[in-house]
């Protein structure tokens, strides 16, 4: 990199503002970045730090009323931020390509992949339709889609998530741009797919000498692929430098705590380290005396002696192609003959990629689905055989679920107080309205939200706070068994640490038994006592957590452990 040459892309003193009724929100300020050809620059930070704003500013696609208030963007030394609309449009897609986070929603569902590729190429390149079609097939081949001649005629919904992201990449590079902006390109994907997509991106950058900016909140991705990193915090770049240096020896305290907060995959720690720089030390949770506290009452469930939850030969199928003729019906087996036991007081982890059937198991246990075959026994009682609503409700009270998406799992029209009170009222766990209110306030206090939260609506809270509401709601029935389905995968790393610590504390205090579902191996390692690995609906291996991580038996488990993104300095 010679200092005298003009950089491929240069961002100078960028400032982006979003005027609103409450005043001007500054999404990015004093951002100075350069990118060379063949280089991968990572931009890392938490949600709301302004990472995506930078990419949108470069593309000239800041959503109004947002605007670029200051600064310059230069492509090969030429200013592009003030270009007229039409000239900027010709740069987009032609000289700067962009990839979005969610491959499932990035493609027009009504057009074939070929139509979308050809349309893009014909817009920018001076080639015939026939040439464009031939190139479309080549491109799909380059991004690693098997059987491209046929697949090019398919619609987006006929591709899996990982394959769709390959299509998105093909679309972004089809006019051979000089710069590629990738906004969280692998966040919505499984670990193994993530590794493949990152490989593909790296290969394309090297082969074509493109410059790439990759925006992510995932330190693992940064370690995996980038040459340099810029750390963003509250709209500013607080630190920038070679990846190796930032990961091993960061200067800024925020970078330091962000890196420390990534759960280490290779050893078990007692508590998740918090991103202290923003969180101002510790949670404000108060200790409680279970002998007198409401949560401690009615916990004498009696000891059944055996395991709390037993699953035997559980099978669940979904109808994928309905037909009048039974032989033509097509079924997808989501859970295939799974048997496992969860002991009282233990945290049992289920790990696997999306579509492996782990969430279906959780839904079968709490009765959202009815299994096709097999038995589920909870505290010695057969759940699958129960018919009486009263009986079922008695056991349901003892098991509660926390869902992945904190945005859609709370009713937006209900106040937090009513959300948390609903299970108490439903199961008639309190004598009077005043008592319900008292319990709700207490629960909210306990999960670290404070009683003032009770009168507000879910949309007033952040993702992490909403997940705390979900936890309070789950605790409201004084459960014995808690099912957590990816409780933190929608959250930032700092928030994740808080929520996981809270769950851990509650589990210890209340002696809860937990089924913890995650695709994130480091998190599983910190949280769980025993782990089961699932793939294609089958349970491949069950082992003590440490044993699983140090001596995996099944080849697929080994494969998963190999794919786990690791910080280079820890390897």
């Amino acid at each position: 990199m010679s200092a005298s040459s003009i950089p491929l892309l240069e961002i100078r003193a960028l400032k982006v503002e979003f005027p609103s009724r409450r005043g001007v929100l500054v999404a990015a300020q004093d951002v100075n970045l350069t990118l060379e050809g063949g280089e991968i620059l990572g931009v890392v930070g938490e949600s709301g730090a302004g990472k995506s704003t930078i990419a949108n500013a470069v593309m000239g696609l800041i959503e109004p009323p947002g605007r670029m208030a200051d600064g310059q963007i230069l492509l090969r030394g030429e200013r592009i931020d003030a270009l007229p609309k039409e000239r900027m449009r010709r740069i987009r897609g032609r000289r700067i390509g962009m990839i979005f986070q969610d491959p499932l929603t990035s493609l027009d569902p009504l057009q074939t992949v070929e139509q979308q590729l050809v349309e893009t190429m014909l817009t920018h390149l001076d080639i015939s339709e026939r040439e464009a079609k031939a190139r479309a097939v080549e491109l799909l081949e380059q991004v690693g889609i098997p059987d491209p001649e046929h697949r090019v005629k398919n619609y987006p919904h006929q591709f899996s998530g990982g394959m769709r992201q390959r299509v998105v990449i093909a679309l972004a590079i089809c006019c051979e741009p000089e710069v590629l902006l990738a906004d969280e390109p692998t966040t919505a994907l499984d670990v193994s797919i993530q590794a493949q997509i990152l490989d593909l991106l790296r290969r394309l950058v090297r082969e074509r000498g493109m410059g790439m900016i990759i925006i992510t909140h995932d330190m693992g991705v940064i370690a995996e692929i980038t040459d340099r990193v810029a750390v963003m915090y509250r709209s500013r770049v607080v630190e920038e430098g070679p990846t190796e240096k930032i990961l091993t020896n960061p200067d800024h305290p925020y970078s330091r705590s962000l890196i420390a907060a990534v759960p280490p995959p290779d050893r078990r720690i007692d508590r998740f380290p918090l991103v202290e720089y923003i969180e101002k030390a510790g949670t404000q949770k108060k200790a409680l005396d279970l002998s007198t506290h409401w949560l401690g009452q009615a916990r004498d469930f009696g000891d059944s002696g055996g395991p709390l939850l037993e699953i035997e030969n559980l099978t669940m199928r979904f109808l994928v192609r309905p037909s009048l003729i039974p032989s033509r019906r097509k079924w997808m087996t989501a859970v295939d003959n799974v048997s496992l036991e969860i002991r009282e007081g233990e945290v049992f982890g289920l790990v696997g990629e999306s579509g492996s059937g782990k969430s279906t198991v959780a839904r079968l246990i709490c009765g959202i689905y009815t299994p096709h075959a097999g038995h589920i026994r909870f505290a010695g009682e057969e759940l699958t055989a129960m018919r009486l609503r009263r009986e079922i409700n008695r056991l349901r009270r003892q098991m509660q679920m926390i869902f992945q998406d904190p945005y859609s799992s709370l009713n937006p029209r209900m106040k937090v107080r009513d959300i948390v009170a609903e299970p108490i009222r439903f199961h008639r766990l309190a004598e009077s309205g005043a008592e319900v209110r008292h319990i709700v306030d207490d629960l909210l206090e306990h999960v670290g939200l404070g009683t003032a939260a009770a009168l507000r609506y879910p949309h007033e809270f952040s993702g992490g706070q909403r997940q705390r509401i979900s936890i309070a709601r789950a605790l409201a029935t004084r459960p014995r068994f808690l099912i957590c389905d990816e409780p933190t995968s929608a959250l930032d790393v700092s928030i994740q640490a808080q929520i996981l610590n809270l769950l851990k504390d509650l589990q210890e205090e209340l002696g809860l038994t937990m089924l913890f579902i995650s695709h994130d191996l480091p998190v599983i390692r910190q949280m769980c006592d025993r782990v089961g690995v699932m793939r294609h609906g089958k349970l491949l291996e069950v082992a003590e957590t440490e044993a699983l991580f140090t001596r995996p038996q099944h080849p697929y488990t080994k494969h998963l452990l190999d794919l786990m993104p690791r910080m280079r300095h820890e390897a």
Binding site: R90, T105, D108, P109, S323, L324
Partner: protein
């Protein structure tokens, strides 16, 4: 695809049978048909004889089956009021209603959809805001009021357009059309506008809301990021996706244009089925009411079938994968 259509057809038959049952019960429970046919001084024995002759003493399911068979052949008996076969009455009136409905549907779609697109794409411009305000007026004003206003202004004050009837019609076989004469066309203008206003404003608002929703999606953002032309994004990608949900509503609306032409037809004394139906109600002319009910149900069923097929044509996700 074939299985899909077959299943939809089976459902349609079920719907038609249910409606037939309702129409049939009209005969059973709204007055005694014999009373409606005979004089005061007909003897009881005579009444019994007619009853037997008409098969009205058969078991209910036999009568219902006969009703369904006759209905399938388009026979609904004789109108009590006009003493003419109902099928003939309907055949006379149906072209008038269908012409009026189709013209207003075309009007509503041809103006509503482009206006919806315009207001969605140029949300901040003043014409868009004006359209939206006007559409609010259109949605809230009752149809008959609009009709009466139009009559007052263009018929009474300015004397440009006739205020009632169809004008001169031309017979094409059994079909009578008003579209081929100047007076027929002139007569059509006001009723068609009156009938179209509500549907049009509804379509404007619907298309606008759906389009705004689509413009926020990732694939539109990605299309922008690929540097596609504004026109290609708006019409190639956004509009097509907007139409998927809009088609259902439009289908139902076209059905209701035909069904609810009643009010407009009364206001303009339009000699269509709606007017026939209103008169039938006031005189308890049950065969006409039953026939009208069945016909409207049939129209809805057919439109829904078309909408379902259109769905599959537009949205590849609904096509069965081979």
């Amino acid at each position: 695809m074939l299985l899909f259509i077959a299943r939809r057809l089976a459902q349609s038959v079920l719907v038609m049978l249910t409606v037939a049952l309702i129409a049939f019960t009209l005969f059973q429970y709204v007055g005694d048909p014999i009373n409606n046919m005979v004089d005061q001084d007909t003897s009881l024995a005579e009444r019994e004889r007619i009853r037997k002759q008409l098969g009205l003493d058969d078991p209910v399911h036999v009568q219902f089956w006969r009703f369904v068979q006759n209905a399938a052949h388009g026979e609904f008996g004789i109108s009590y009021r006009l003493r003419k076969p109902v099928a003939e009455l309907i055949a006379e009136r149906f072209p008038a209603t269908l012409e009026l409905s189709m013209i207003s549907a075309i009007l509503a779609l041809a103006i509503g959809i482009p206006m919806g697109i315009y207001t969605a794409l140029n949300r901040e411009r003043w014409p868009a805001k004006l359209f939206m305000t006007l559409s609010l007026v259109g949605v809230s004003l009752p149809t008959f009021l609009i009709g009466i206003f139009l009559i007052l202004i263009f018929g009474v004050q300015l004397r440009w357009l006739p205020t009632f009837g169809r004008g001169e019609v031309v017979q094409l076989g059994w079909w009578s059309t008003g579209l081929l004469t100047a007076s027929g066309l002139k007569s059509l203008i006001m009723p068609a506008i009156t009938l179209a206003v509500f549907q049009m404003t509804l379509i404007v608002r619907l298309v606008r809301a759906e389009m705004l929703e689509v413009m926020r999606t990732d694939y539109i953002k990605f299309a922008r990021a690929r540097g596609l032309k504004e026109r290609a994004i708006n019409f190639g990608h956004a509009l097509k996706n907007t139409l998927v949900p809009v088609i259902t509503i439009i289908g139902l609306q076209v059905g209701s244009i035909i069904a609810f032409a009643i009010i407009t037809e009364s206001v303009f004394q339009w000699p269509g089925m709606g007017l026939l139906f209103v008169q039938a109600i006031s005189e308890v002319d049950i065969p006409v009411m039953a026939a009208y009910l069945m016909l409207i149900a049939l129209v809805f069923v057919i439109i829904n079938l078309i909408v379902d097929i259109l769905y599959v044509v537009i949205d590849p996700r609904l096509r069965v994968q081979s």
